[in-house]
């Protein structure tokens, strides 16, 4: 600047005025002028537009390039900090995305990144900027474009006053909201001052609250996002694996490891094959299936290959003379007697090192001790030579590649099948079964409205808390409401009509609304589970398993590997790979299904205990069997019924509940199993069937829609809902209660001599399901912990938000002196 001024001054004609100062009176007209004012306010918005965002980003990228060459201004450098922070955080999110094994937690890293920056941006907008603007008319984050076309915050530096940029309209609006006295001389000055004050206060509030609010807000947002994301991943996995199963079986050879195997075999062609190598080979050739039996078979096959290769080492005279070179007398081999020659030939033919050595030692002569010594030496040398000629990997590589090519298709098909199964019943977070189970247990805990103290008790396995919770739901003083249902139940008490009797039975079975809602929710969820993983799905998986095993079997047979082909699948299914796969899938499926029903049963039992039907049934059964039906023994069995469902393990059932925990005798066991697993609502089903087309029933059904729904649900085919429960009970009776009935044929199935007793036990424990006790402990813990977290941090968020909003109400108010000043001015 000085240079410019100097040059202008220097070019001025000298003024002859006497006054020295006048020498500096410079005519600047047309030479010096202020910068043209190009700044303008941006429309005041709480949320910026995405277009602007992209534009800014583009500018920032250009700026980084310029700054790298040393050209940038403060404004640009300031913005680069934001960009760098986002870049660094993105890089971190990407790293954690890769590091996390689960799809959901992977995604959550980016969600976390988004919510964190989102909260940082959103918090000041919603908790500070917007409320203050609504109340005072001042947008504390008002932006403007300066003359150099840079976007900046108007109130960033309170000492750099830019309030001149406000229009008349803006000022009037603010003045009105800020309650600046009308008709003040120089009113604008007051308004601008107050606007600035408001901005300073608002920005300070932002700095004070952001650190506390942003992390909590971000964490809460992540919490909210997690559930729908999990559901979305679940749905997409179910769909995509279904599609893959329909399309890719037999068409895809993704897991083609031939190239790897080839290069391994080529590299190690001269390696001696010991047990370690065999084991490794078996692992690599094995399709991705958890079957020790099949692996054993592969090892057997590799060993047989080696044995065959071994025979290729032929022992002849040249081999022997080479092996013993320098240790036998020269010409010994050619000077053998006829008998010795014959003995040697036989020994060589047999491949017996011992015989060859002995024959030659005898031929060499000497006393017995010398001969023995000599024989030992020869044996050692011959063995060494043979060992050097032991089959190496190269000898069997062609066969191994053959085996591999026969199994490649199977492996890739198996992978598709595994994905399908795993998405449904996989023992992993995010599989359908895991999610559905979590939904069910959460539903239960929520419906029973446990408080935190009760959840703590449940974590310790206290059954009473659960019973109290269920009883609360079951207890319904006015179960039929006050409407038409109540009227019907009251007026039909003594009716003899079959239809009416049946409907009464149905209504009574339902008990009350709350209970019904809980049970039907659980049943519906179990029904959904049956739909996704039920019999249809399992049979389709079994069909696919059969197809791929069959193909692999044919392929193995084509390559002449029949021993493995037999193990792949055969008519006697036990012990084959196909059977192993099917059993594994089945075990997984029945376990979860049983746990659902066990829960429903327990709730049902508690309800029946409450309304007395359980005690009544037990008493009747005891009487029928001629046993002690006193109150005490009935009560004991009632308690045991609950305990069984709550905590019985498969072992308890295997011991017929005779162990110290239950101490049931044979008859009591029968009574209890009939109550718990007998087909309890058979009568309802029979009643429904006999009443098809009954006019009275139809009239009632048309009048009371929920009964109609109920009947419809009942009638629904395909193993859903209640009928699913009944099927389950039937199977339970068959497989768990009367399991020894099934033992004889089961026992006859042998896998390498091992009785299938153990297989049966796994299946049995599947039917028993997860004890409600441990299920509740886990769920109670999870719910308690997340509730506790939410209480602490949700509470913190509420407090922080409330404090900020209240503080926001103080912002922009007139101080006493300001008030006085305004009033004093006339």
């Amino acid at each position: 600047m000085t240079n410019v001024l100097n040059s202008i001054i220097a070019n001025q004609p000298m003024n002859n005025s006497v006054n020295g100062a006048a020498a500096f009176t410079v005519d600047t007209k047309g030479k010096i002028k202020p910068l043209e004012d190009k700044g303008r306010l941006l429309p005041s918005r709480v949320f910026g537009s995405p277009v602007e965002y992209v534009k800014d980003l583009k500018k920032d990228v250009v700026n980084i390039g310029r700054a790298a060459n040393g050209k940038a201004n403060d404004h640009e450098l300031g913005r680069i900090n934001d960009v760098a922070m986002k870049l660094g955080s993105l890089a971190l999110a990407a790293y954690l995305f890769v590091k996390n094994p689960l799809k959901l937690s992977k995604t959550m890293e980016f969600v976390g990144f988004g919510t964190f920056f989102g909260s940082m941006a959103l918090w000041p907008k919603i908790a500070i900027q917007a409320p203050i603007k609504a109340r005072t008319g001042v947008d504390i984050h008002q932006k403007y474009i300066d003359s150099q076309n840079r976007k900046k915050m108007l109130f960033q530096d309170p000492q750099y006053d830019l309030t001149d940029m406000f229009s008349r309209e803006d000022l009037d609006k603010m003045g009105k909201k800020l309650k600046v006295k009308e008709n003040l001389p120089d009113r604008d000055r007051f308004i601008k001052q107050r606007a600035k004050k408001t901005a300073v206060q608002g920005n300070t509030l932002w700095m004070l609250s952001a650190g506390l609010a942003s992390p909590v807000m971000s964490a809460l947002a992540c919490n909210v996002m997690e559930k729908p994301l999990n559901k979305a991943f679940e749905t997409s996995a179910l769909k995509s694996t279904q599609k893959a199963l329909e399309k890719n079986i037999g068409n895809l050879a993704k897991s083609n490891n031939t190239a790897v195997l080839e290069s391994f075999l080529a590299k190690n062609a001269n390696a001696v094959v010991d047990n370690n190598v065999i084991n490794n080979l078996a692992d690599n050739l094995l399709p991705d299936v958890n079957s020790g039996e099949f692996k054993k078979e592969i090892i057997k096959y590799i060993k047989s290959l080696l044995n065959n290769a071994k025979q290729a080492v032929t022992m002849d005279e040249a081999f022997v003379s080479n092996a013993l070179n320098g240790n036998i007398a020269e010409g010994l081999l050619s000077s053998l007697t006829e008998a010795q020659r014959a003995a040697l030939n036989t020994a060589m033919e047999k491949g017996s090192i011992k015989n060859v050595a002995q024959t030659l030692a005898a031929a060499a002569g000497g006393n017995k001790a010398q001969q023995m010594k000599q024989a030992k030496l020869y044996m050692g040398l011959l063995e060494k030579a043979c060992a050097a000629k032991k089959p190496v990997l190269g000898d069997i590589s062609a066969k191994l590649l053959d085996l591999n090519s026969a199994l490649v298709q199977f492996s890739s098909d198996k992978k598709v099948l595994d994905d399908f199964v795993s998405a449904r019943v996989g023992e992993k977070a995010g599989s359908y079964i895991a999610n559905q189970w979590e939904r069910v247990t959460n539903k239960l805990v929520k419906s029973l409205k446990f408080n935190n103290a009760q959840l703590k008790e449940l974590q310790n396995g206290n059954i009473d808390v659960l019973i109290q919770g269920i009883e609360k739901v079951v207890n319904n003083e006015n179960p039929y409401g006050s409407g038409i249902l109540n009227k019907f139940m009251n007026s039909s008490k003594n009716s003899n009509n079959n239809a009416i009797k049946f409907i009464r039975e149905l209504v009574e079975y339902r008990c009350g609304k709350k209970y019904d809602r809980l049970i039907s929710n659980l049943i519906a969820m179990a029904g959904e589970y049956e739909e996704v993983t039920g019999a249809d799905v399992i049979s389709s998986v079994q069909q696919k398993t059969k197809t791929i095993c069959e193909a692999a079997k044919n392929s193995l047979n084509d390559k002449g590997i029949s021993s493995l082909a037999e193990k792949m699948m055969s008519d006697s299914t036990a012990g084959t790979l196909e059977n192993t796969i099917n059993t594994q899938i089945k075990e997984r499926t029945i376990g979860a299904r049983a746990s659902f029903y066990r829960l429903i049963q327990l709730i049902d039992v508690i309800k029946k205990e409450k309304d007395g039907t359980l005690a009544k049934t037990i008493e009747e059964s005891l009487k029928n069997m001629g046993k002690d039906s006193s109150q005490g023994s009935v009560d004991r069995l009632v308690q045991i019924c609950k305990n069984i469902l709550f905590e019985a393990t498969p072992t308890d059932y295997a011991e017929k509940l005779t162990n110290s925990r239950y101490k049931l005798d044979k008859d009591e066991f029968k009574i209890i199993s009939n109550i718990l697993f007998g087909n309890s609502d058979e009568s309802i089903r029979a009643g429904l069937n006999s009443l098809q087309g009954d006019t009275l029933l139809n009239r009632v059904l048309s009048k009371i829609p929920f009964i109609k729904n109920y009947v419809e649900k009942y009638n629904r085919a395909g193993g859903q809902g209640l009928s699913g429960l009944n099927d389950y009970k039937k199977e339970f009776m068959e497989k768990v209660i009367n399991w020894e009935n099934g033992m004889t044929p089961e026992l006859s199935r042998n896998i390498n001599g091992t009785p299938t007793h153990s297989l049966n036990a796994i299946e049995r424990s599947g039917y028993v399901g997860k004890p409600i006790k441990s299920m509740l402990q886990e769920t109670a813990e999870k719910v308690y912990n997340s509730r506790k977290w939410l209480k602490i941090f949700g509470g913190a968020m509420v407090v922080i938000t409330a404090a900020t909003l209240i503080a926001g109400l103080m912002v922009g108010r007139k101080s006493k002196i300001e008030k006085q000043t305004e009033e004093n001015i006339k």
Partner: protein, 360 residues
């Protein structure tokens, strides 16, 4: 803010600014005052006690960020300024870090043992992540700033103390002075050249500082009439580059820090402060040794993770941090603009006579 207008002379008293007790400071305060109105360069202290000065400045800023500035800000003081707003930025940084650690750790104390252990494993990593983020971010900047200082003599963090004479306010009519700590190169648009001219700490000559830089930058005095004209644009350029690359790199180092904090070895050591401080028998004795060991193990796992993809990602992240740092070193340490002007070019080129001049 009213600046006392006076002769700019900030060198005479530099040696008198005591670095030490409050008493001395108070004694010197008055004499000092009239000199530091427009800024007192703390070059000598910076050279002699870099760490002490830094601690002093940060402590002062922190104290004000949590006490004086919020009070001024929340009452809407007419003396509130941008410096105070920026300094208050420490508040969300610290409270946010604490909150982030709390979000992952605090609730665990209500959980039962097993769940608490599981939660604390993650919480501990998150806490460490916050710590390493901060440390890596601060320390990594030095990787670019220090070489620039050694090679060119440009200290981008060169601090100066500034006195602010405030306007009287309703509740404050007497205590109208406040001090701020700025950096001479805080603004690249308006570096505080005035504090560097005629600064006796650098030498008797008016241009002593710029001569020194010119010498460091190996610009022969044959190439300029006055060192400042030649050197100032170069300093600006280097300051911009240093700021850019140290900022960029620092966030990647910070991310790497978090990455290291997320490794498995940290699960094997308890960082519960209560245990570390009070359970001397188990923790105190070997804590730092153990911590160091786990740090080394975690770094190794970060670069050599058994999982192939994680390993690649870890190396890529570290590579990005190192890469940006090296690029920054390369760009800042070497001068690619050697021919910027002849002896007189610097002076002449500032004005383009063919264009209309505008003065604001």
């Amino acid at each position: 803010m009213v600046l006392n207008i006076g002769v700019q002379n900030n060198n005479a008293q530099i040696s008198k600014i005591a670095f030490g007790s409050n008493k001395n400071e108070q004694k010197n305060a008055k004499t000092e005052d009239k000199y530091i109105n427009d800024g007192l360069l703390l070059a000598e202290e910076r050279d002699k006690h870099p760490l002490g000065l830094n601690v002093k400045i940060q402590a002062n800023k922190m104290k004000n960020a949590f006490t004086k500035y919020p009070k001024k800000g929340i009452t809407g003081s007419k003396n509130a300024n941008f410096y105070e707003f920026l300094t208050m930025g420490m508040v969300p940084y610290l409270s946010g870090s604490a909150m982030l650690i709390a979000v992952f750790n605090y609730a665990a104390k209500y959980f039962n043992t097993e769940a608490a252990q599981k939660a604390s494993k993650l919480g501990q990593k998150m806490g460490l992540g916050v710590l390493f983020y901060g440390l890596a971010k601060v320390l990594s900047k030095k990787l670019i700033e220090l070489p620039v200082k050694w090679k060119h003599g440009i200290d981008v963090n060169l601090p100066y103390k500034k006195k602010i004479n405030e306007l009287p306010e309703e509740d404050n009519k007497n205590n109208l002075v406040s001090y701020e700590y700025h950096k001479a190169y805080e603004s690249v648009d308006f570096p505080r050249w005035d504090l560097l001219y005629d600064n006796k700490y650098y030498g008797e000559e008016r241009n002593a500082y710029f001569n020194k830089i010119a010498k460091k930058m190996k610009i022969s005095s044959d190439n300029f009439n006055h060192a400042d004209q030649k050197v100032k644009p170069k300093i600006k350029e280097k300051v911009i580059q240093t700021k850019l690359f140290s900022t960029l790199a620092s966030y990647f180092w910070a991310a790497t820090g978090v990455g290291i904090a997320m490794q498995k070895p940290w699960e094997e050591i308890s960082l519960n402060p209560q245990k570390i401080i009070f359970d001397k028998k188990h923790y105190n004795q070997n804590f730092f040794k153990n911590f160091g060991k786990k740090f080394v193990e975690s770094c190794k796992e970060f670069v050599n993770n058994p999982n192939k993809n994680t390993r690649i990602a870890g190396r890529a992240l570290l590579g990005a941090a190192i890469g940006i740092t090296l690029l920054g070193n390369f760009k800042t340490l070497f001068d690619f603009n050697k021919d910027r002007g002849t002896k007189t070019h610097a002076a002449v080129s500032l004005i383009d006579n063919s264009k209309e001049k505008v003065v604001c």
